[in-house]
Subunit: 300 residues, 2 copies
């Protein structure tokens, strides 16, 4: 049975796992993200120990916070590049893995492209070829599979930074993105909810007006992604989306904003199956990393 | 020498051409778009006449205004579907061609996906795998090649309908999209310029404030497409973009809005090569249709 290593490198925690080609996780560890040296070394030690116990890997996949370089032919492939996260700028993540495991193919992509790939293989995006995975949490990120492959293009999508209408009379909160102020992330990430209402989102009652406003901004972002990418489904994960009562609000608002312009039954009749939570729950990230490992093995 | 037929079906005019596998046009006609019967029959007659003169086609491609159904496996493949254009709703475009030319493969896609494909084969998108083609004219449309193939997904992109911030104090024009009011198309298409300033765009001097405002809205749209799709280039055609003096305004505004968030030299250092006019000029559309014909032949 082929085994693959997956590393989900998040801003606050690392998840490392060993899984099969069918997405079954055999072993997993989680620990807080610290320095690159320490965080990556612990992942390496985990895989080395597994190997001594007979769990030899065919490939490793890394899904990481970014920005990063996902282009295999680029000199900076495998680097976390211009991240503001202290100590992590210009970290050669894949290089460190290659030093210890010179014979293993290593896949590398954004956390959200990785999660999208995981959902594509084993979750709620099976059988689709073009869809989006969004995470709404400390930040807002989006990954996409288009025509069956993760989108990289110039670099990789940075969907959280999409600009949306912001009615300052109705919502005077100026937004908190250090680059753009009131882009989607600036208006609708978890910390923006907390800053606007002066209390943490999970403490706001489901009927608090915070949620209608949050759904409004998220729906504006979604509508922009729909008209740009024409996704067959939109998967929404992340801490904010653990408030499941927000999904129906989003469904209604997306329909209202599109105003029946996109004549697709998936949107007009079944929007509750169109904008959905992840199928893989809190394993979406690390399963995505395992999917990246498999892809790396296939590509060579 | 293999020959291909191309039909560019526009809202106001048809362009039909016969071209080679290298994008050389041998023969071309242009005429106003009228009813589906008449417009498509003239295209058919053009190809039939060419055949009697020894110009036998290997395949036909159609790039059309939409919305339309570009999915070869769909029962409505080849239809112009829910278009508001009088007489054209539910037009089986490809079916009419098949009746006359039962043995010819027929490719079918949006005008903007077609133009993108033409630029990919023979224009300013050669060697890229992920880019966008926008047209700014009577309406605003966008097509995209991602991972080397036109984007369809749920249907096809409808980029003109992206939502952007609209400061009503600075620009009280309410927008003119019948579905969305002040989406990008509602604020920045050619007729919106005319309605806002009470004169046709081409009569406005290059230093008229209309152009800075137009560039502002187009740049907002572009920034949204960049963060969503991560294109390696953005090609901008259509009647409004014939005012070439608007390109430098757009370049400056895109840079300013992104605020150095996307660390790519293509944007930070060479934006004049990143947002560019079409390489194929006013033949982009029909060459795109010829490229669609070639693709149809290859796919089967």
């Amino acid at each position: 049975m082929d085994l693959f290593g997956g590393i989900e490198s998040g801003g606050t925690k690392f998840v490392c796992a060993i899984g099969t080609a069918t997405g079954e996780i055999k072993e997993e560890i989680r620990y807080p993200t610290t320095t690159p040296d320490e965080s990556i070394s612990r992942a390496i030690a985990f895989f080395q120990k597994a190997a001594t116990q007979g769990r030899t890997l065919k490939a490793i996949g890394v899904s990481s916070f970014g920005p990063l370089d996902p282009h295999p032919t680029s000199p900076k492939f495998g680097y976390v590049t211009t991240t503001p996260k202290p100590g992590w700028m210009n970290t050669d993540f894949v290089g460190r893995l290659h030093t210890t495991f010179p014979d293993l193919p290593v896949g590398f992509d954004t956390d959200v492209n990785g999660a999208a790939l995981g959902e594509y293989r084993w979750g709620v995006a099976q059988g689709l070829d073009t869809f989006i995975y969004l995470t709404i949490g400390t930040g807002i990120g989006g990954g996409a599979i288009v025509n069956g492959k993760p989108v990289h293009g110039l670099m990789h999508p940075e969907m959280g930074h999409v600009r949306v209408p912001h009615d300052l009379a109705a919502d005077p909160f100026p937004g908190m993105c250090p680059y753009h102020g009131d882009c989607l992330e600036g208006l609708a990430c978890g910390p923006a909810i907390e800053a606007r209402w002066q209390q943490r989102g999970e403490t706001l009652a489901p009927d608090h007006p915070a949620w209608a406003l949050e759904a409004h901004y998220l729906a504006l972002g979604i509508v922009n992604f729909i008209v740009t990418l024409s996704p067959q489904r939109i998967i929404m994960g992340g801490g904010v989306m653990d408030q499941h009562h927000i999904f129906p609000l989003i469904h209604q608002e997306v329909g209202s904003l599109l105003n029946a312009y996109i004549h697709a039954p998936q949107i007009l009749e079944h929007i509750e199956d169109y904008v959905v939570p992840p199928g893989l729950g809190n394993q979406a990230g690390v399963l995505g990393a395992i999917a990246l490992a498999q892809t790396a093995l296939t590509i060579g």
